[in-house]
């Protein structure tokens, strides 16, 4: 008994030391993980700061006119971003117009119509396709889609709309194959798996009770989808579409292959054009002179701001639907 009493302080001392050591290593690990989390924030702010610094020479030289002038002339060092901005917005907008109805249609097919054994394989195939690198879509667009459009589709459309005012300038020749419409089609097929899988996911959040009660009062499948499922998931679908729009706006390689890289604004959808990302990808390594490089970085800054806003809105919308299903 006395031996135990004699040993107690030593045991207590070693226990205190162990607890202190544990607390110390825990503090280190805590600090390490916290630093890594903060690094994510530093990364994004670092991107913003470096772009602003890199773009400053161009922005201070051209001022606001940088985003309102169309001319892009490396020889006279006069740079304006209007043509790339126009190309970026038009291609993304057309891509969304094509991909959203298709994507929602496929999601309805997968959740309501598809035979059960096929649901998982098709759903998985769609998700796998979302991961295929964009350069694959680009090379397909260049070697398969563009020649097909050039020889078959475009001459037909041009001849059909030839005499119709308005439409004849929208679809004016010559048929190059590459251009705004081809890029938009490639973008559409790229973002299609994306829209489909998000829409399918939010469709799955609709409580079956809601759908069953609609079916119970005699609604058809379409009425249930139109009046119950889509209104219930509206925010989620919008979030998915915005996310896809963010992808489309910033997509580089697929577009670079088929846009034609022409710095001008044309009313025809068949005309070669350029987008912000395609301009940077094509010209950055060949840019000589600080002002040229800086102008390209300024283009990147504009793209960063546009996509940041779109993605922030998209995430906000998706967070709202997450909060609702979590509650």
């Amino acid at each position: 008994m006395s031996a135990v009493q004699e040993a107690l302080p030593a045991i207590r001392g070693s226990r205190d030391a162990t607890v202190r050591r544990f607390a110390f290593t825990d503090a280190i690990f805590h600090g390490l993980t916290r630093a890594a989390a903060i690094l994510v924030l530093v990364l994004l702010s670092g991107v913003a700061i470096s772009l602003i610094v890199g773009a400053w020479p161009a922005l201070s030289t051209f001022g606001f006119s940088f985003i309102t002038t169309e001319s892009w002339n490396p020889v006279t060092e006069k740079f304006g971003a209007l043509a790339p901005i126009y190309g970026t917005i038009i291609t993304s907008a057309i891509a969304i117009l094509i991909a959203v109805p298709l994507g929602i249609g496929i999601a309805i097919f997968l959740t309501e119509l598809c035979p059960r054994p096929l649901r998982r394989p098709i759903g998985m195939a769609v998700e796998l396709l979302a991961g295929i690198p964009s350069i694959i879509y680009g090379i397909w667009g260049l070697f398969v889609l563009a020649p097909f459009l050039q020889t078959t589709v475009q001459p037909f459309i041009i001849s059909v709309f030839h005499g119709i005012p308005g439409l004849n300038s929208l679809f004016a020749g010559p048929p190059y194959g590459i251009g705004l419409l081809t890029s938009a089609m490639i973008l559409a097929i790229m973002i299609l798996p994306f829209i489909t899988s998000i829409t399918k996911d939010v469709f799955d959040t609709v409580p079956s009770v809601l759908k069953e009660s609609a079916y119970g009062i005699g609604c058809t499948t379409w009425e249930v989808t139109r009046r119950v499922v889509i209104p219930y998931t509206r925010i989620g679908i919008m979030g998915g579409v915005m996310l896809a729009l963010g992808r489309a706006l910033g997509e580089t390689m697929a577009v670079t292959f088929v846009i034609g890289n022409a710095h001008r604004i044309s009313t025809s959808l068949f005309a070669p054009a350029t987008t912000i990302s395609a301009t940077i990808a094509n010209e950055f390594t060949e840019a000589v002179g600080d002002l040229y490089t800086s102008s390209l970085v300024a283009l990147g800054l504009i793209l960063f701001i546009i996509t940041f806003l779109i993605l922030a809105i998209a995430r906000y919308m998706l967070m709202r639907i997450d909060a609702r299903t979590g509650a």
Binding site: H30, A36, A37
Partner: protein
């Protein structure tokens, strides 16, 4: 009576029309994607031979292979993963464990989601300003850093999600026997979430192995064999980009073959990653 019947008829007709449209949409979507994969297989397979894996990228008009490009892609992908994964896992750990309810976590989650879908060419510009301009030349290490920045958000996201799935009772049991928090995280939470975290890393590899835009002006390209990390290095995606846009038939064929290699790699990795999490869900 007759109006009710005709209303019923018109509702049924409308339903049939809309549902047919949905089936057509699915048909168009799947056929379109099948066309792309079919063309890829058809054009890519015809160029697959041993030389692709044993010879360097050829000068215009010559036969050759993709060895230096494949090597460059593997090297930069590995470095990108080695740099990006620890940061991603640690940040994800903070968000799911230490700071689950902190303000910082909410902000980081939001910013991370934006980084996740930010245009990769912007990351390329960032690394150009950060490394290439101060160093004065393009280098493989700059390319690897650009890829690492793309890895981080993917790993952060999956790590946080997977750790959040670990039941709290497991952590409480660890704490109850006197283990400090970091031991609980390391020996209990990580072990329970391991397959999920590995899935995230595999998905990150799949994502960066096909990335072209961030490498264009960081690692640039190199027609010759180079294992110097401080010099420009070839990579499969950038080589495909260069060769596909060239007028030479041999180069275009190599581009198709390279595209097939990348696609099969990415699809294989994604399927493997999914089978890992799939097994866990079954259990």
């Amino acid at each position: 009576m007759s109006t009710a019947a005709s209303l019923h008829q018109s509702r049924k007709r409308k339903n049939a029309v809309m549902m047919t449209l949905c089936v057509i949409a699915a048909g168009i979507g799947l056929a379109w994607l099948a066309l792309i994969l079919g063309a890829l297989l058809y054009k890519g397979l015809s160029g697959v031979n041993l030389a692709v894996f044993t010879e360097m990228t050829p000068p215009p008009g010559d036969a050759g292979g993709l060895l230096n490009a494949i090597y460059g892609s593997i090297v930069m992908t590995i470095i990108g993963i080695i740099v990006g994964t620890p940061i991603g896992v640690l940040a994800g750990t903070y968000m799911a464990e230490y700071g689950r309810f902190s303000k910082l976590t909410t902000v980081v989650r939001f910013i991370n989601d934006i980084l996740l879908s930010a245009p990769s060419i912007i990351i390329g510009l960032f690394v150009y300003e950060l490394m290439v301009r101060p160093m004065g030349h393009f280098s493989a290490i700059a390319g690897a850093v650009a890829l690492a920045i793309l890895v981080i958000p993917v790993v952060v996201r999956t790590t946080e999600d997977m750790l959040n799935l670990v039941p709290n009772a497991l952590r409480e049991a660890g704490t109850a026997i006197g283990a400090p928090r970091w031991v609980v995280i390391r020996s209990v939470a990580y072990r329970a979430a391991l397959s999920g975290i590995v899935t995230g890393i595999l998905l990150a590899i799949a994502r960066i192995s096909g990335e072209t835009a961030p490498l264009l002006f960081t690692a640039l390209n190199n027609q010759f064999w180079s294992s110097n990390l401080n010099a420009p290095m070839a990579s499969l995606p950038v080589t495909i980009f260069q060769f596909a846009l060239s007028p030479y038939e041999e180069w275009q064929q190599l581009a198709w073959t390279g595209a097939l290699i990348i696609t099969l790699t990415v699809l294989g990795l994604s399927i493997f990653a999914r089978s890992l999490t799939g097994r866990r869900e079954d259990r």
